[in-house]
Symmetry: C2
Subunit: 566 residues, 2 copies
Amino acid sequence: MTSTDASRGIAATEPVWWGWGPAVAHDPLPETTRRLLAYLGITGQPSPPVALDEVRLPPARLPVSARAALVEVVGASHVRDDRETRVRHCRGRSTSDLLRLRAGDAAAAPDAVVLPAGHDEVLAVLRVATQERIVVVPYGGGTSVVGGLAPSGHGDRPVIALDLSRLDRLGRVDRESSTAELDAGLRGPRAEALLAEEGLTLGHLPQSWEYASIGGFAATRSSGQASAGYGRFDDLVVGLRVATPAGSWELGRAPASAAGPDLRELVLGSEGAFGVITQVVARVRPLPARRLYEGWTVPDFATGTRLLRALAVRDLRPTVCRLSDETETLAGLAGPPRQHDTTRRGSLEGADRTGTDLDSGPAAALDGAAAGGGCRLVVGYEGAGPAVERRAAQVTVVLRAGGARRLEPAAGTDWELGRFRAPYLRDALLDLGIFAETLETAGFWSALPALYADVRQALTDSLGAAGLSPVVMCHISHLYENGASLYFTVVCAQGGDPIRSWHAAKTAAGDAIIAAGGTITHHHAVGTDHRPWLGAEIGGLGVEVLRAVKRTLDPAGILNPGVLVE
Amino acid sequence: MTSTDASRGIAATEPVWWGWGPAVAHDPLPETTRRLLAYLGITGQPSPPVALDEVRLPPARLPVSARAALVEVVGASHVRDDRETRVRHCRGRSTSDLLRLRAGDAAAAPDAVVLPAGHDEVLAVLRVATQERIVVVPYGGGTSVVGGLAPSGHGDRPVIALDLSRLDRLGRVDRESSTAELDAGLRGPRAEALLAEEGLTLGHLPQSWEYASIGGFAATRSSGQASAGYGRFDDLVVGLRVATPAGSWELGRAPASAAGPDLRELVLGSEGAFGVITQVVARVRPLPARRLYEGWTVPDFATGTRLLRALAVRDLRPTVCRLSDETETLAGLAGPPRQHDTTRRGSLEGADRTGTDLDSGPAAALDGAAAGGGCRLVVGYEGAGPAVERRAAQVTVVLRAGGARRLEPAAGTDWELGRFRAPYLRDALLDLGIFAETLETAGFWSALPALYADVRQALTDSLGAAGLSPVVMCHISHLYENGASLYFTVVCAQGGDPIRSWHAAKTAAGDAIIAAGGTITHHHAVGTDHRPWLGAEIGGLGVEVLRAVKRTLDPAGILNPGVLVE
């Protein structure tokens, strides 16, 4: 793949336009995964992406006068409408987005990409866009997996992507208050690098961290892998600076207030539909002196879930906590299989592919092999040395009492090494014509078992009916006193129309989530993909309230139309 | 006072209509307080409240047709317009509210009080009110100190108080998820008693706890004395049921979600202007097996503040934490002076009233006596026995290292015994013609020293200019990782027009809060009193957003007009 891309004139270290990260990181598919797919009988046809010059891109529709007005605001070099820039800003990074891009469909590409230098330029761009009736898609890292970068219902209005990558400074660091001003366009690694120079960290590390931006974290209510320790991103925000078509807006005068509704919570999760977040004032913590990751095995997913609840109600949540169900444990997505975990590997390699299990399809085969093999639990601790040791000791008591068994130290570090790998793996699978996608929810503890069973069943039934033999895996990775998240990964054959098959499966899963009392999304946001269930989630009145807020802040409806609300 | 009230036909154990709680609890003023007032030269004329039948009450204006429609919804016995009921629902419990009531001014009394039995009856009452153009004031415990029960700008429309006291059940308790459904009309003690039968607690104990309601806690973003341990009330809410003029609204499907803005945070703090909260789903915790309260002394307020920050950033906040400044420490409001704290008592009793200090007025005299006497710090721990011991040991290390000294055990229990006493004390002071009132704010740690100094100065200057010789005391009682609250108590002579003098002082303090970067209210809410600063707090756009939300949920503007937004 690397040489192919080099021949297309894209540097090997630059993220590809059709996937996640640089091509060199996608290839090759790990041998363990190849063996697993072969075992499951999940096969596909090699499906390389088309060449960039083969991508079907509609002509740019930005009127000359509008372009001139935008150039006046940000400068000529910051209004771009070349092929590659437009394609790179087309849609987000859901599997359906990638399938369309790989097939050369860039019908949803913006007419131009505008790169403002700061808050005031964003305000000025919004003024031009309002005057010229141009649709504006705020663009941070471009990693949305819910159609958050795909406006709809805007008719023939031209669309610009408002790329915030030039808003990339660390502002005032208030060491006494443990807060820092972070520009919205800062991506995860650069934000952490700038804070590290001050001995500080956000501790916000979602799987998208390498490419996603501070503004995107806030606009989508992102939740990092260490959310139990550092908090969700919405917990980390104490202040916000927002550029709206109706003007500039700053929020957050104190760590807590009773001055009416908390309007920060209205901007968090607003997905660029109310305004453009240009700066976040975030809580920062000292860089942890010690990091400790451990792998454990628990008898089964239900027991593991009860153990996580026991930790949460005792206020003993580790910084990182990830419990894989039996299937995910066996599939090894929780970490590359290693010699130390011989039970698990043995159970897969020793399984009889010709047995009864396989007659029910690959998922049942994997489930059969997984049953009794236990579930992988990764726990991580970060902080001052003594605090880490103390917390680890307390957690260990609870886990041992619940029947958990600690694995060799490598089981924990394996997870740490692979924590950002899944999206790269997906690209390698798509290259082989194999489908992979994720979805997530959360619920109160009492609702969780049925939520898990029903969503799993809905995905298995829907994709199974399409003859795609899915493997459905799940993990819990975000713990709260009152409940937890569920994160599902689906791998299956692509079949004739994978976008349509997935849409049906996703619809079935969404209906199951609502019926089982969960939230339609725990940390991926609404975008356009989850909008059908928003009314069930927040009520018809809730949707009306969001519309009223949008009308107030964006009266001309230029911001991300169709995202979050119609 | 007790016999007087008995002669007015009010039972001695029932809260008085002109103050806080039953009369028997107001009298007599503690001897230590009398001595302190004498020492400071703060004097007044005995000012008993007028008799109930002397109260000036406007004629009830509820049209016959409207009354009949309301009777049809809630029954004849639940539409009340007798004198006592109307007076009891007149305004809230700010000192200005009480001064007006005590003087016989009930001009703001509702035309009738309506007591619905549940959510559906609340919805039906709102429908009648919308049709009949009746203003509705949602009424929980009636303890607002910010004018939250005093609608304004409603012209000649009749007003009903919607008393939620019949919504008083504990609903479903979900032990696995640690949540409980609590009706909005439940007052603090009854809510705790019902939960205690299940071995559970909310742990939410603001000073108003004896009379304030669950719905009021939510609508005003109340914060309890144990907020560091259990969380502010807005932290405790995971779900809400709201009756609005536009219909019924339920929120909260999961412990955390990325399904757009968190609309629970729009209802929390909405002060009855958007809808009537009829039920809250709250986090509940096991009743603590152990409670430990300790008194400490720290060298001065600045040192104490730094110590609290040190605890907060180390994630070592005690369940309860209250640091009095030098003046409050000396005045003994942090707890009745006792033999064990001889240094402090000595410093007051030994002070020379004829010295230089007194030439600058009572406040300066008290400040002079207080200087060098140290500050009182109360810390409390609640939870399982070992957790309490562990946390106390960790906190002790930090406090000792910072120069704090532990007092005798009684210093902690004194605080616990007196934790709800201040509002009763105020009534006793008002009886003597002495003014007492409070106000509060919060800010980031770096802003706190200037916020403290500037608000104190503004209050002292304003009341001093009116010749009222104020004593201004302050404490920190709510800690966050990024900052803390400041709670000011002012005691002074009443002068000729105490309501006007206080309004001027409060205005000066509000301006100082905004200039120093604090929030206009940490836990008292906006009401009508704080509305002048709401634009400075949340921006002009924030106010516009609140108006848009109100128009959506309450299109006829019947709910609490003038409260929160105009």
